[in-house]
């Protein structure tokens, strides 16, 4: 058994998490840039973070045979100050050529403000300019439905093809619209605020496996870096075929991510 966790924040996890993930069959992770749990005080803080994502984490993952890729951006929670956000965005292009950078992410909205939307649009423009794929964070809880629609509208106003965009953290009330508009959809297996393995299996039963993946979004909060293999077990317990399980936890992420030629599982 092998799987890809296409959204996990390994900078917040310990090295033995890599070990346990490898033991559970993880062959690759992709790590979007995100909010560290506190607001950084300078653009230099992001410069150091991008170095950590592109230089240090791939080496730490490689110790356990896991490929580590990343997405860069300023996250929506720290994007509410446009001046600061633009300063951070200005340092991103220098990192885009690095061999493990797959695109721009996780961009999106947090509280659905005009300031956040302005910076989202500017990062979409950045992805357009440098022909980058996009990984999208959708807001939490009551803000998700409205924010998901605002985000999809902003991307649809650009020249980026929806097939090169993954809209993450979908739930039952957003997944249909995301797929209908041609985007890829990510189900995040996260306690209390997102999907459980059981509900992810339910969504697959209702919407099929096309353009759908699952991830743990493991981070500094209560979360589970083994959520994807646990969801595989849940699907198997319910009687889903090995082919279906493999599609949503390996084949689909591989298919989407391989649109970037830098994504390789073999040397």
């Amino acid at each position: 058994m092998r799987y890809i966790d296409p959204h996990i924040h390994m900078v917040s996890r310990t090295t033995d998490d890599y070990q346990r993930m490898a033991q559970a069959g993880c062959v690759a992770v992709t790590e979007p840039a995100f909010w560290a749990g506190f607001d950084r005080s300078s653009a230099q803080g992001f410069f150091d973070y991008y170095r950590q994502l592109t230089e240090y984490e791939p080496k730490r993952a490689a110790q356990f045979g896991i490929r580590h890729f990343t997405w860069l951006c300023i996250n929506p929670k720290e994007a509410d100050d446009p001046g600061f956000a633009r300063e951070v965005i200005s340092i991103i292009p220098d990192f885009l050529e690095r061999e493990t950078v797959l695109g721009i992410g996780e961009i999106g909205l947090n509280k659905n403000t005009r300031n956040e939307l302005i910076i989202l649009e500017e990062q979409i423009a950045l992805a357009e300019k440098y022909n980058q794929m996009v990984l999208v964070h959708t807001p939490h809880l009551e803000d998700k439905l409205k924010g998901t629609r605002l985000i999809m509208d902003a991307i649809s106003a650009s020249s980026i093809e929806p097939g090169r965009v993954l809209i993450d953290h979908v739930e039952e009330h957003t997944v249909g619209e995301v797929l209908d508009r041609g985007f890829w959809a990510g189900m995040t297996l996260y306690p209390d605020t997102k999907c459980t393995p059981e509900r992810a299996a339910d969504i697959i039963e209702m919407y099929g496996t096309e353009r759908l993946w699952m991830n743990s979004a493991g981070d500094w909060g209560c979360s589970d870096p083994l959520a994807v293999p646990k969801a595989r077990l849940e699907m198997a317990r319910r009687g889903h075929s090995a082919e279906t399980i493999d599609t949503v936890t390996f084949g689909n992420p591989q298919c989407f991510l391989s649109q970037c030629e830098k994504f390789r599982l073999e040397d």
């Binding site: 009551e142 739930e171 009330h173 509900r199 209702m206």
Partner: protein, 107 residues
């Protein structure tokens, strides 16, 4: 979208065999939470918007219609069209839309 009818690999007896005990426990947790609220002193005269939404959501569970998870998530979503300029001073997400009044629509 694929046909949601009978798309689960298990039959109903198998679903119940697999999930009943887990959801029996969750059901009792839910009942105990409502009992706990009954034993707690109220704060002010107005119902908490989260509690109101929660009880509206419970009604969906027994209305006999399908797509309950989607409809509950929809009920617990902000359907307003207003966009504040900044998040400065705003609270984090609370799990239910905070309506200003029962007649005036979403804030």
């Amino acid at each position: 979208m694929s046909d949601p009818i009978f798309s689960c690999p298990q039959n109903r007896e198998e679903v119940i065999n697999t999930y009943f005990m887990e959801h029996r426990a969750k059901l009792i947790d839910l009942a105990a939470y409502l009992d706990r609220l009954d034993r707690a002193r109220p704060v002010g005269d107005d119902a908490d918007f989260r509690d109101t939404a929660f009880r509206d959501a419970i009604a969906i569970l027994t209305d006999g219609q399908s797509q309950r998870a989607r409809r509950i998530l929809d009920l617990l979503s902000d359907h307003s069209t207003a966009m504040p300029q900044s998040a400065d001073g705003m609270k984090g997400a609370l799990g239910a839309p905070h309506r200003v009044s029962t007649e005036g629509g979403a804030a």
